[in-house]
Symmetry: D2
């Protein structure tokens, strides 16, 4: 921690801060520059974070040396996190995992049909919402437990894994009963009670980046999961909110190499929400792979114009099939596979 004093700070103010630092068992190191006096603090930075240093008289600003996340950082674990799931699927490995399915689960037949189709094309996870976070209270809110049952059944019949969203702490047990991976949606990325419960559950988690979350914020939310002992966490870039309105969100692919540098956790790209329009999904899925992601999540629907949600961003099964072929070629060009 570096504490920069105001030009007008008095010796008393300086001494008072140094004393507080010492009381916490840390060592202040005062450095008098030409324009400013600076206090470097040696010791466990975390002890200082409980103290609102910028509230002290004489302080101009405070700069942290270390990142605020611990377990999520490469300092804690240098090598990539990988974890095995059923059906021989490894998350975080050389092979890029692909999740596909409808935005919302609507009925069993459609779902099974889609599952067969995306499985054949290369997907190993079946995605689909049973509980839907909708901006409008008047929109379709999902099938609830019936949706979960359909997902489980369709996945079992096709040898796939289920990834589906959990929106509320009271649903965690229920969703755990049916799903292989819990999805925490963008709007709940800082629903801290939900993070705690998902951490405690020990189920693999797909944690989506919030619309206004920095990568640092995303890793702090992952830290909630890790600190409960759940290290089976995959991050997800799904677009942030910016001033650009040509797309639903701005898919921030810069975040992929940033995440690979900062943390050992694997990261997936969701080009469906990241763009919001069917035409842009395939190029951005491929761009995600080229940028180094460990997974893709794509919305697919047999009849997007009848979809109960997100029809305008869903691929047709044959478009998904074609995307998988091209994606495989891109993956192989950078030494990976799908």
């Amino acid at each position: 921690m570096i504490i920069v004093l105001k030009k007008t700070a008095t010796p008393q103010e300086l001494e008072y801060i140094c004393q507080k630092v010492r009381e916490l068992g840390l060592t202040p190191q005062v450095s008098r520059g030409i324009e400013r006096t600076v206090i470097g603090v040696i010791g466990d930075e975390e002890k200082l974070q409980v103290q609102p240093l910028e509230a002290f008289p004489g302080v101009e600003h405070v700069m942290a040396i270390l990142k605020p996340y611990k377990l999520a950082s490469r300092d804690y674990r240098a090598e990539n996190t990988e974890f095995d799931m059923e059906h021989g699927v490894k998350v975080g490995g050389k092979r890029i995992v692909v999740m596909a399915g409808p935005c919302s689960v609507e009925n069993y037949d459609m779902l099974l049909d889609l599952a067969k189709s995306v499985k054949k094309a290369g997907a190993t996870f079946l995605r689909g919402g049973a509980f839907k976070p909708r901006t409008s209270p008047y929109s379709f809110q999902g099938l609830g437990e019936d949706g979960l049952k359909y997902l489980r059944q369709a996945a079992d019949e096709t040898g796939m894994l289920v990834c589906t969203e959990v929106m509320d702490t009271r649903q965690v047990d229920l969703v755990c009963k049916y799903a292989d991976m819990l999805q925490i949606g963008a709007r709940n990325m800082q629903n801290f009670d939900l993070l705690k419960e998902c951490g405690i559950s020990k189920k693999p988690v797909l944690l989506k980046r919030g619309l206004s979350a920095t990568v640092k914020d995303l890793l702090m939310s992952a830290e909630y999961l890790l600190s409960k002992g759940n290290f089976k966490v995959m991050l997800c870039e799904r677009g942030i909110r910016t001033f650009e309105t040509a797309t639903r969100n701005t898919l921030d692919l810069n975040a992929i190499p940033v995440i690979k540098k900062e943390t050992h956790l694997p990261v997936l790209v969701d080009p469906s929400h990241g763009t919001g329009y069917r035409d842009f999904v395939a190029p951005m899925a491929m761009a995600g792979i080229a940028a180094g992601c460990d997974g893709l999540m794509v919305e697919v629907h047999q009849c997007p114009e009848e979809a109960k949600s997100d029809g305008e961003q869903s691929l047709l099964p044959k478009q998904f099939d074609e995307l998988m072929k091209k994606s495989r070629a891109i993956a192989q060009a950078i030494g990976r596979d799908i």
Copy 2:
């Protein structure tokens, strides 16, 4: 609803869309321009919103005529919403309501002392967090039910009302037991299950705008509350996330006149979170009043440098006192009061 067709749309595509519109009991009105053909839809726009129109072949884009919120709109209720609370406090009236207190409840004596001080200066609500949404799992998470008890006790002793945050659906009943108004925090603005439970509770709600929420999004979240029959809702502008880093958030005071135009619900300004620094709280509180807000929420602490959270943005009691005096003058200059 206006459906703009692609330049290349075929007569078959046009007819197919018109047929779908008719099937929903609506009337399509086709208008052939020089560059584009456009379909205007007459009838209840809501019926069309279940259909992802942009997924239809031949459609370029779709433009809504009406706002997606109903009960929150001035179309539904033209006059301002006002509601009465205990101790003769009216929310949404000519008198601007003031909420003040510490960021987190830390102990009873401090809280009572603060309550007395801010009450005397003009606050009618005591604010303070018992459940705290913290970015880091290692930060102070609040006193929980003890915090609620202290709030209730200090408010009763001083004749104030309690406004405090509820973070999780499982806490709603508990918080309702102690609080006069439930605060839904910025990070939970789109925690839809929480919105539903708070709507059902019928307690007055302070709904904070999310960091990346448009005013429209905020009103859609309010709609969740209203659609459960709870009209005692006050909105809160507390800053949005932008590229500017000189302040913790960008307080969007434009939102005040926008909200006053679009909805009948009252709106409060939180300059503490909206700026993040003590020095900027007073000018922005006064600016909020001049912009037309119906309430202020201000963090106050006797000893900010010892605060367990947000010390750097808390006013000292004497600073709050001074702010109240100036704010009263501003309020009177525009025909209101504090």
Copy 3:
């Protein structure tokens, strides 16, 4: 300057950096923490800024202690900058200066009529564009020199000052001939050649904040003017670009107290561009005053529906008149005047 080394930095890398620091005549001060080694640099920080320190092997990141602007900072000049202009107008003083007029100069009669009206209401500067920066090449581009002449004539006839935009280095001399203050528009805030020429001209300058400029960026652009010896500079907050679409821009009033803290230069608020809609101009003008601004710039037009630009955000003369009355009351409530 604080240089934070990577956890993996070698002693050779550390020594190499220290040597570079010494070569620049500065003193490196090495501080070995538990997790990271840090180098504090004592001496003139500017010398280091020519060196891209983050490109050095072993460096994790670099943190500046000082602000990059010098002449614009309160460190350089603690008291507020004030400057006198004709007709007894003082910029930066206790009295808030008001600039009003049409977006574009359209013809002389209209302009003179407006000038009389806004002068009477309290404006001392006549604003109006002769050279117009328009998003579309097909939009009205301004009357050019004729517009400048009309401005000068109308101002002289009413005892007002002229503030008008200069868009191109080749126009600086011409605009100086007619104007009392040169406006540098938001889109040109980082047109560095234009900044240099306006600095050299020594004319008072109104420098508008760019749509994506931080306050720091704005002060760096002001530094271009100051470093040419021109200290007659007034800054202008006119809204930044965010995700919110309910208003044309997001007027960042937080910037007012930030600017007052960081620099001695006066600052003006432009609620017309800052909101984009007539209904929101008056509340935000008053909010700007309450936040502590030193000036207002407001678009006024006799017949907004016929305006060649920005009609939707122009006040009618009688609305401006009313705004001035209320603004005066707000100004007096905080010890200032209009």
Copy 4:
């Protein structure tokens, strides 16, 4: 153009607007919905754009049917724009063009050495700044004409083309003398006088997207060039400004498929400015190719720690070499080449 009336609009207001529409030679088509009355306008939408419709009494808002750009749109020209340059280079074709070189031109020997190296790796354009737009007036401002001479000489010696920035209208002739392509930087994207002069020059132009420019804004700026008869225009995505601070800018690769859909003009990606850190340049360059760009621009420097600007984001020649190899594999995977 669709004009939506307020719920409270009177028949007189409706008739007044219809009359204005007819006066412009257009046909108003009134459609009375349940909640709102809407006027569709048939005819040349451009005629209406001179009229600020939202300023009319009774108007709620106005929605454009057509995009504001004409010559830049796919409506005007359906097929991709391609243009030939010297040395057999085609811009906009199947082969992705690569521009490489230092941020600033510093001296001739270094430049020639770099040119040889990047040419060998696959670059056909030599990039480098002679006039540098710097945030600080105290930073290196470029070598000026000497820099241009060095670029020309090094390019001629290696059989490359020169792309370099022009910052000011007064420099256009000079830069045209030495360069094969004029770069208009992000900060000048809405310097409309500069756009006009570059349009008149008829030189190929690389137009960089501004930090807060939407794709629509970028195309409107391109329209300035096209409307002067210069169709040799390549667009450039180089990152926009968002709340994320882990990277210098947020490279918006969504913009690539959006641009390919909206316009016939080719588009290039600049991952150096788009990320700001050397480690992230290669993954984002490859992502750009996978997203469908027509060109890459990469900063390369023999000794980034000595660079006069942007050292921290420059690749070493051997890193560039490696990037070219991988990029070629990605390009081939999607049926293109480098």
